[in-house]
């Protein structure tokens, strides 16, 4: 980890407003990651609310779907109608969901200091961090592994600077199964599979 990253981490640690979550800055266990996926009420990271979160642990070459965490959240505002067909969560489906802080509290406890894996993780993290900043004063300090980034690094060449990063393309190219999409656990599982496959092809990518 670079000095700059260490400095950022140290600053974040000081900014943390709730000592209960100090474990986020601990040393993570070796060979463990958490693959996460969120469904949100819209596609605007400034206003989107989290509707559901799935977090699937990965330990070595094993994806522990049996220990997956799945959370349904209750949004403060109405769900954008055009997003409902995608995630299939209607107003009544989330009516009994958790409050944002309860859900994030469970999520943080679950992931601890482990690195995060995801597909277009940036968006999910932006939405989570927006909520976290106002509540705990920090962004998630965990290292983030973007599987489409791993894929890009592998595919890109000077002759072919454009890489098709659509999930279906990546799965097909890597000969991975096309599981049904937009179930958060399945999406997290797919990201974890891409990670494991590329990790072996690249050698070590664990930071």
């Amino acid at each position: 980890m670079s000095l700059w990253q260490n400095l950022r981490r140290w600053q974040a640690r000081r900014a943390l407003q709730d000592e209960r979550f100090g474990f986020l800055f601990d040393q993570p266990p070796a060979e463990e990651w958490i693959s996460i996926d969120c469904e949100t009420s819209s596609l605007d990271p400034q206003s989107a609310e989290i509707l559901s979160i799935a977090a699937v642990p990965v330990r070595g070459d094993r994806i522990l779907t049996s220990q997956a965490l799945r959370l349904i959240l209750k949004p403060r505002h109405a769900i954008a109608a055009q997003s409902i067909p995608i995630h299939q969560l209607r107003q009544q489906d989330v009516a009994n969901g958790l409050a944002v802080e309860d859900a994030l509290s469970q999520l943080l406890t679950f992931i601890g200091a482990r690195p995060l894996i995801g597909y277009y993780l940036e968006f999910d993290l932006a939405v989570i961090n927006r909520q976290l900043k106002s509540w705990l004063g920090i962004h998630l300090p965990n290292p983030a592994i973007e599987v489409s980034g791993l894929y890009y690094d592998r595919k890109v060449t000077a002759y072919r600077p454009e890489v098709d990063l659509r999930l279906d393309t990546i799965l097909t190219e890597l000969a991975l199964p096309l599981l049904p999409r937009h179930d958060p656990v399945n999406d997290a599982l797919l990201a974890a599979m891409i990670f494991l496959k590329l990790r072996h092809q690249h050698g070590s990518l664990d930071q």
């Binding site: 994806i63 049996s66 199964p177």
Partner: protein
Amino acid sequence: MTPFDFSHAPFDCLDPAERQRLAERVDVAYFPKNACLHEANSPVDTLYVVIKGMVSEHNEGETLAYYGPQDSFDSRAMLGGRAQHRLLAVEDTLVFCLPRELVLDLTQRNPVFGAFFYQDVAARFAVLANRPLQGQLQAMLMSRVESAYLSRALWLNAEDSVLDAARLMKKHHATCVLVHTQNGDGIFTRSELRDFVISEASAASTAVGPLARTPLITIAADAYLYHAQLLMAQHTIQRVVVTRDAEVIGILEQVELLSFLSNQSHIVLAQIERAESIVELMAANRSMDELIKLLHGNGVKVTLIADLLCELRRHLLGRAFTLLAPAEMLEHVCLLVLGSEGRGEQILKTDQDNALLIEDGYMHPELQAICERFSQTLLSFGYPPCPGGIMLNQPDWCCELSAMRSRLLGWVRSANAENVMRLAIWADARPVAGKAALLESVQLQSLPELDGAFLSRFALPVMQFDVPLSLFSRLVLDAGAQRDRLDIKKGGIFPLVHGIRSMAVKAGIRTSNTYRRVDELLARQLLPAELAQDLRETLVFLHGLRLQHGLNTLAQGRVPDNLIDPAALSTLERDLLKDALGVVKRFRQLIEHHFQLARIS
């Protein structure tokens, strides 16, 4: 919602609650190419189901099996908790991991699910070359332990000697005795006796008690038979002690268990003999289909299944004709089955090849109508009509003796390809109902004019199709729409059967079964012993492969053909196939030489 796919056997038979329990415990593992899933003899706590990729099973350098998407493995290791063989990822592979204790628990609760593993294990137990198949679940597996034959339990006391035990076993033809010991009841079997003999201790002065294995592995009399088989598999033992209300009532031997399953044929036979109507016969006909799957699924040898099934089918066809024809008519006609049915080598149903011989001068107004009804009945039993029209509802194949004789002689005199095939089918004729003696005078072997020139032309079709094996022992795939299949009948079974048939006709051997013909040819020293053995084994293997392929095709709801996909075979099967085709090639050369076919082809 779960990524696990419940639409494939055996998981499709789990109920929603069981699926939920399983779904909650499923993990996914990734194995890069060449990674080892487990080594031989390592403990196993997982049942794997392939999501994508392929895994191979190895034993001392030999590849035993491949597992592809949706295959679950390794059932036997999962049951025993210890790996038998090494498992490797052939390519990058993703698998679902199911915890062993949960799967074991589900096999106990859900008999259908449990029976799948029973069948899989039973299949693995069978000799490799027997080509067993994972059949569907049969009602017979759901029979109770008490319905099988149980050996009597013989008891000794701990202080009785090993000699006493051996004498008792000999007296009762038993394979084991039970012993009351200080640590509870135990069992002393032939293998303990063998180990004892090796130890060279004195049988008269050694007490049997300390040598007995404890605790007893027991099963309740009202448990399902497949539970007994599972138990034997789990403990790698050949027998279990059967109890009722905690009292030992007998011993179930693995041999008895398997023979119980094959003995179901007697029930089918009784069903046929008792049938008073075509409708009742129909039920027996269905039982036969089930029986084939059951026997093959349990690794019973193909020749045994064929013998059994041909006998049953002979009774079935005979009974059908007897039900349709008046008793008086049976005194004057003879119903024949021809071709593979006549040889007794047909396991799955095939085209109707049959004929009716009529005594010279016998007339009956209903005869034609009865033959027509018989053909229709067979059709409703699932025997398609013969494309060549060799059926008794055709005038050519339903005629008086003298007419048949002159027609046969006509074919012998102008032995073109078509007539030779008719004569070949006729050479395999076997009577199934009516006056069997009618056949004798018109059997191919009893016709005059079977000279060398005719016999050469008769044998010629052996050379008709190339054996799909290249000079360098590679399989040649040129059959099927995609030209990626191998026609096992044209390329393998037919040349063998017809070559042996030609030799049998030449030698005047009257039996129609190919294996019996080989035996006869060997007895008359017309075949070298080694070749005879090779021919028998090759035929068993090819018939087995065809049966397996046929059952698979039927299971997919298609009509069985003879086109094997070598890519779907295991390495071992492919190697055996090459060996088998090598034998066919050698035999073809022998026939070519023997009948001097080079002269006329």
